[in-house]
Subunit: 302 residues, 2 copies
């Protein structure tokens, strides 16, 4: 029985940063999120891969105890493929090319067992698919967290807003929050998220950390001070996956515990940026994550 | 007797933001820094104004108990004039025009009394003038804090590096730190600052707050969550002025007390961004600043 269902993309990525490049590397929102989630909880992954997807990546995900019953293979199409580049400011990814391929016709059918899961993570993906997946749940999960990205805000703004309305925690980065609510103010964007019915708005700010807004409180978590960021791709997804994994394990949705979850998630996300693809995420243990959690305590004390 | 000497610019600013614009408004690094400093300590201002500088601004500064013995008037030239604009991302100022005017030939002569001050703030200004002022001090002050900006890094990089080498706390924003040390990594830039001999590196990140690096420790202070940023001009200067004012009052240079100073300074800087020019800074009291200081405690607790 899985605790958390993660829906999103499983991709082959070409990524170039000032520190090197990789081609056809394992990527995608569901990949990073489920790997991060697996540090804390039992996770099932829902996504589609194409006819070119290497067996070794499937074996790797399985080796991490990620349940793959929801991983479909589209034999007629290639895998979703993303090409991106980062300049000296590693906070900003420049998308060079997005080939939807198998994603174009993806209409996930959740395995029966997944429909009863208590925790659902709607990773960055077409908002219509996110809504479709939510509709397949037998009962409303205790906690639904959704992420998004600029592409969907540009193409399907109304659907993205509907997703925000349906979920418990809406997650997005600062540029996306500004874009979605057409305001320069992150505080105002967060208020808009809350007024749409999300209980919690979390805005990710790359190396600057993230901020959480709830009805009455505000929490700010700094970024972990990395000397060398190699490839931030997937750090936002790792953050989301780790957060829901932590919440699924603790089953405590108080604002206080969410703060803790955010710091754990920030710790996981920081590791992810230290190597290309899933290289670092594949190696860290919960003990590593806890060590950085304790360091965070020292960073903010005054 | 002044506790803190602040050197920098006193300017007439034209500023345009999405929320309005002002022309010939009181501005300049020394203006914001000394106003912020005056909340905590007795401050003397060293700067030059031109033949067009309105009496009312001088009266205003004097009304804030800022000592003006070091404020020279150049009768042959106009005042330093800066024109800038902010777009929807209020973190980034676009300089439209810089007219040095009186600043072009400014060579400050510190009043005798100032040369014995224990605290010196070298506000954003030509680094050669910053060094010249430091050389005029009768004894090395207990604490010297220096700020800079992209213009000087472009024009006089070596001199900026020399300033960093001479001072106790080097202050700059994130883009400037990356530019000065030609690295995408703020952590690496901070290490370079420390290796140049500054004891403390503080990197300001606008709405994302700031980070302090000392030899062994790291402190992160978030930005105050403002619903409406009207004009961030001078917030960095206010931050620096408040910090040295706080340190001059407490005379405690431990890392722990510096953290407190940074939070007070962040509080002052956040107020400054809530109105054009010095409008907000002119109205706040220490009690207002303390209130936000306490709020910061709540923002970071986990």
């Amino acid at each position: 029985m899985v605790d958390v269902v993660v829906v999103g993309t499983v991709a082959l990525d070409d990524v170039k940063t000032p520190f090197g490049e990789v081609k056809n590397a394992l990527g995608g929102s569901a990949t990073f999120a489920s790997l991060a989630c697996s540090l804390f909880s039992k996770v099932g992954l829902v996504a589609v891969i194409g006819n070119d997807f290497p067996e070794k990546h499937i074996d790797f995900l399985a080796s991490k105890k990620i349940d793959l019953k929801g991983l479909e293979r589209d034999k007629a199409r290639k895998s979703f493929h993303w090409s991106g580049e980062y300049g000296l400011d590693l906070n900003v990814a420049k998308t060079l090319r997005t080939d939807l391929n198998a994603l174009e016709t993806f209409s996930p059918k959740l395995p029966e067992e997944y429909r009863k899961a208590d925790f659902l993570f709607l990773g960055n993906l077409d908002p219509e698919i996110q809504l479709n997946v939510l509709a397949q749940m037998k009962k409303r999960p205790s906690m639904v967290v959704a992420d998004t990205m600029n592409l969907w805000i540009e193409l399907k703004r109304e659907k993205v807003l509907q997703v925000v309305k349906e979920v418990d925690i809406a997650l997005m980065n600062d540029a996306e929050a500004r874009q979605l609510f057409r305001t320069p103010s992150l505080v105002r964007a967060a208020r808009e998220i809350l007024s749409l019915d999300s209980k919690v708005a979390i805005i990710k700010k790359g190396e600057h950390g993230c901020v959480m807004f709830t009805d009455k409180k505000h929490f700010a978590c700094p970024g972990y001070p990395l000397e060398k960021v190699i490839d931030p791709t997937g750090s936002g997804d790792s953050f989301g996956g780790a957060l829901i994994g932590y919440l699924a394990r603790t089953r405590d949705f108080t604002e206080k515990n969410m703060r803790k979850g955010i710091v754990y998630a920030s710790s996981v996300a920081s590791f992810n940026a230290e190597a290309f693809s899933t290289e670092k995420l594949s190696k860290i243990s919960e003990a590593d994550v806890r060590k950085r959690y304790r360091e965070f305590k020292g960073f903010v004390r005054f």
